[in-house]
């Protein structure tokens, strides 16, 4: 069900190598208002774990990582 969550901002980081997708996620979180959901499209397998760890450190909510057609959708909600 969470895979259907509607993002406020989608960042296409497909093709970018680490740390590209994580950097794009953090950049997007800086730009959106509190409560917004950012979705990053990534083909880097490490992005999910890196994003989860970054959320733990920064206090944002890691909603999940969901498989799509040849990539993963990583969703994070800005909490503060």
């Amino acid at each position: 069900m969470e895979a259907q969550v509607k993002a406020d901002k989608v960042v296409d980081a497909r093709g970018a190598q680490c740390p590209g997708p994580l950097v794009e996620l953090i950049r997007a979180i800086k730009e959106v208002p509190v409560g917004s959901i950012v979705e990053v499209w990534t083909q880097e397998p490490r992005t999910k774990e890196d994003a989860k760890a970054w959320c733990q450190r920064s206090g944002h909510e890691f909603i999940g990582a969901f498989p799509a057609d040849g990539y993963e959708r990583v969703l994070v909600r800005k909490m503060k």
Binding site: V23, K30, A53, S58
Partner: protein, 410 residues
């Protein structure tokens, strides 16, 4: 057949190297380098300036002397690239026409991207910044130094690591290490962006007592109270702040609408042709290629770009492929270095730091002004050295080798 007019915009490593490659074919092409100053800065040497181990004036080279005689040099500031007219619009109202263009406009550190960083922080990525940091270090008497990466992207990814390890050396030489805490900050979850290199960096930092703060995305700097704040909510006091600012593409790329949101030119990662622009190629930091922004990448791109451009001029397909090769020597402190050699497919496997690699790095720094005009790439240089001078390797820890490589460090 009339000769094709090739204009190379930018006289840095990539522009100079590719111009010299093309200038060898003066029967087919007229090559013109357009550069704002005509002064070529050997940026890798800036790493040593803050410690007084290199003089800035020795890193400046006359671009004319680095270019082959058949390559022309025009000193001019370009305001805009106009692909439809195949011309460069100059700041002083003039224009330069081209048949083919090579964009080699590099990258620019932008401290103003982070509030307070220009006022409160130092870096060493430009000559004035490196000189300013040298002055700040000369007055440093102890306390906490926060050093690291303020944001992505930035050029020469290992340079902040190298600087931190050399800083440790310098503080020990000055008998200040016991009075100093070094904290390395990075937005990444680990000390370095390439996983195969991270264990070596973390081991070196641990051995030298350098603390690492990961997931530290610098949000702002408070120069009055000497604090640096992260997006993650961390606050660090500092006595001296040395942070590499995030970089952007050149203003001319942004003004011409040829870049992405960071000002990087969308470039085919194999042919080095600019996407959607058959007559324009790009090289080095200016591109959006998924490789390090460094001269070490541009060296390897130049021969491929020149080959493809010549093919295009001859009416052939540009079929040569850049494989993402990069090779750079990395300072590891205590007179040692390692080497990173990698490409799109193969990550680097750095050897154990040794004085041998440090010697090669120092030699390459000296050899650079000779190598560029002759178009000698670093891999060729390395092969030459390994083949011809491998017998010196056992003596690299000797006083003779120390004299060659460390004389500036004393």
């Amino acid at each position: 057949m009339a000769k094709a007019k090739v204009v190379v915009l930018g006289g840095g490593v990539g522009g100079t190297f590719v111009a010299n490659k093309l200038a060898k074919h003066s029967d087919k092409v007229d090559v013109t380098v357009v550069d704002a100053t005509g002064v070529h800065h050997y940026q890798p040497g800036l790493l040593y300036v803050p410690f007084g181990w290199e003089q800035p004036e020795k890193l400046r080279h006359d671009e004319r002397k680095l270019l082959k005689p058949s390559a022309q040099l025009i000193k001019a500031v370009v305001e805009r690239i106009e692909p439809d007219k195949r011309q460069l619009q100059l700041l002083n109202d003039g224009t330069i026409n081209y048949d083919y263009l090579v964009i080699a406009t590099g990258s620019c550190p932008i401290p103003d991207e982070i509030p307070g960083l220009s006022e409160g922080g130092h870096h060493f990525y430009t000559e004035p910044a490196a000189v300013s940091l040298r002055e700040a270090l000369s007055k440093f008497e102890g306390g906490r130094i926060v050093v690291g990466i303020a944001g992505f992207p930035y050029k020469c990814p290992p340079a902040p690591i190298e600087f931190t390890l050399l800083l440790d050396d310098w503080l020990r030489q000055k008998n200040l290490r016991d009075k100093t805490e070094i904290v390395f900050v990075t937005p990444l979850p680990q000390a370095f962006s390439i996983p195969t290199v991270t264990p070596l960096v973390e081991e070196l930092f641990a051995r030298k007592g350098i603390k690492i703060e990961t997931f530290f995305n610098t949000e702002s700097v408070d120069p009055q109270n000497r604090k640096v704040l992260s997006l993650e909510g961390m606050e660090l006091d500092y006595e001296l702040l040395i942070l590499i600012p995030p970089h952007k593409g050149s203003p001319v790329i942004i003004a011409s609408g040829l870049g992405d949101k960071g000002g990087w030119v969308p470039t085919d990662k194999f042919t080095l042709q600019v996407k959607g622009q058959e007559r324009i190629f790009a090289i080095g930091d200016a591109t959006d290629l998924p490789v390090s922004k460094s001269g070490a990448a541009a060296h390897f791109e130049a021969p491929i770009l020149a080959q493809n451009l010549l093919h295009l001029i001859e009416g052939k397909e540009p079929i040569a492929k850049y494989d993402g090769s990069v090779m750079c020597f990395v300072e590891a402190g205590e007179g040692k270095a390692t080497v990173l050699r990698f490409n799109y497919e193969r990550p680097p496997q750095p050897p154990k730091p040794s004085s041998w690699w440090r010697w090669l790095k120092a030699l390459m720094n000296r050899f650079y002004p000779v190598a560029v005009p002759k178009g000698i790439a670093p891999d060729v240089f390395l092969a030459m050295l390994q083949g011809k001078f491998a017998e010196f390797q056992p003596f690299c820890g000797s006083d003779l080798m120390k004299g060659l490589t460390q004389n500036k460090n004393s």
